[in-house]
Amino acid sequence: MDTITTKMSREEIFDLMKKFITEVIGEEFVEEMDISPESSFTKDLEMDSIEIVSFSEKIKAHFGEQIDFTGWLSAMDLDQLINLNLGMIISYIEECQS
C-alpha cells in the first residue's frame, strides 16, 4: 500500500476523494453530479452504507495507519453519519496530516 509522506493540500485531498467516490459509485453517476465539499454522502451522493464501507477501505489503503477513518466514523451517531459531507472528511484528513 502506498503511504503518503508529503502533506496534501485541501484541493489535492478533494480530488483524491472525488476519485474514490467515482470508483465506488461509477463514472456514469458521477457525471450527473456536481460534487463539491458541501456534498453530503447519503443525500447528495446517495451513497449507501456498503458503498461507504468501500470508500473507507480506499482511504485506509491509501493513507494506511496515518488515518483512522473507520474509528472516526464509528464515533458518530446515525444523524451525524447522515449529515456527513465531503468537506468534513477533507478537514479530518488535513488535521491528521498536521
Binding site: 459509485i25 446517495e46 452504507s49 456498503i50 464501507v53 446515525l78
Partner: protein
C-alpha cells in the same frame, strides 16, 4: 477490498484486529450486508477480539449466486469461510436471517462454536416473515424501505432505489430463496434446536414483531438468556452501542 474465493465464488470479507486470540464472526441479515456491523459494533468488539464480517451470497459485495439459500447451504458457506481463514473455533453472532444461520451452525458444528449471540432471529414459520418474500413488488420495496431497512432515517434517492430494486428482483425472482425459505418453516419446531449447548445470548427489540421468537428460543435452548432492548427489529441500527456492549460483555465474560 478483501475478496476471498470460497468454493469458486467471490466473498467480500472484512477483518479487524487480526492478531487477537479469540475470533468473533458476525453474520448480517437478508437484504442487508456487513455494513450493519462495520461502523459501530465491529470496532468495539475489535478492541479485544479478532472480528470477521462477511457478505452473504448475492448481498453487499459478494458474488451473485442462484441457489443455496437454505440454512444447510448457508452454514456450508460459513464453514468453508472458517476453513479458508484457518479458524478452528469461533464465537458467532447473527442478526435476523443471520441469527438463524448462527443457530444452524451451532447445531451442525457444535465443536466449532464457542458462544452464540442471536439478534432478532425470526421464527421462519411466522407468516409475516415469509410474507415479505411472497408479496414482493415495487410498492412493497418502498414500504419496506420506509419501515424495515437500515436506511430508516434516510429517504432513498433514485439511484439507491434502483439498486435495491434490482437486488430484490434478483433475489426474489431469479434465485431459489423463496423455495429455500419455505423449507425452513419447521426450524424452531425441530428437535435439533434443543440440542444447542452453547451459552446463548438472545437480543430482541421490545417493540419487535420477532420478540416472541426470542421468547421461544429462550425456552428451547438450555443455556439461553434473553435481553430485550428498546427498539424494534432494527435494534442494531437504532442502538448500535447497546448491542455492541451487550455482545462484548457476553463474549468476554464467558470466554475461557
Amino acid at each position: 477490498m478483501p475478496i476471498l474465493n470460497i468454493n469458486g465464488k467471490s466473498v467480500h470479507i472484512q477483518e479487524l484486529n487480526k492478531g487477537a486470540a479469540e475470533t468473533i464472526i458476525l453474520i448480517h441479515g437478508m437484504f442487508s450486508n456487513l455494513s450493519v456491523y462495520y461502523f459501530n459494533i465491529a470496532p468495539l468488539l475489535a478492541t479485544q477480539f479478532h472480528v470477521v464480517l462477511y457478505d452473504l451470497k448475492s448481498h453487499g459485495m459478494s458474488e451473485k449466486v442462484l441457489e443455496g439459500y437454505d440454512l444447510e447451504s448457508m452454514t456450508d458457506d460459513l464453514l468453508h469461510l472458517m476453513e479458508a481463514l484457518e479458524l478452528k473455533k469461533v464465537h458467532l453472532g447473527g442478526y435476523s436471517f443471520g441469527g438463524l444461520i448462527a443457530l444452524k451452525m451451532a447445531i451442525r458444528f457444535p465443536e466449532r462454536i464457542h458462544k452464540l449471540a442471536v439478534i432478532e432471529a425470526p421464527d421462519p414459520n411466522d407468516d409475516k416473515t415469509r410474507g415479505i418474500i411472497d408479496e414482493y413488488s415495487r410498492e412493497f420495496l418502498e414500504h419496506y424501505v420506509e419501515n424495515f431497512t437500515d436506511t430508516t432515517k434516510v429517504k432513498m434517492g433514485k439511484r439507491q432505489m434502483e439498486r435495491n430494486h434490482r437486488m430484490y428482483e434478483y433475489l426474489f425472482y431469479q434465485t431459489s430463496i423463496k423455495a429455500d425459505m419455505e423449507l425452513e418453516k419447521g426450524f424452531f419446531g425441530s428437535a435439533a434446536i434443543t440440542t444447542i449447548e452453547q451459552p446463548t445470548l438472545l437480543l430482541y427489540g421490545t417493540d419487535s414483531n420477532c420478540l416472541n421468537a426470542g421468547k421461544q428460543l429462550e425456552g428451547l435452548i438450555d443455556q439461553a438468556s434473553l435481553i430485550a432492548v428498546p427498539g424494534d427489529h432494527n435494534i442494531p441500527i437504532q442502538e448500535p452501542l447497546v448491542i455492541a456492549e451487550a455482545l462484548f460483555h457476553f463474549f468476554k465474560e464467558t470466554s475461557n
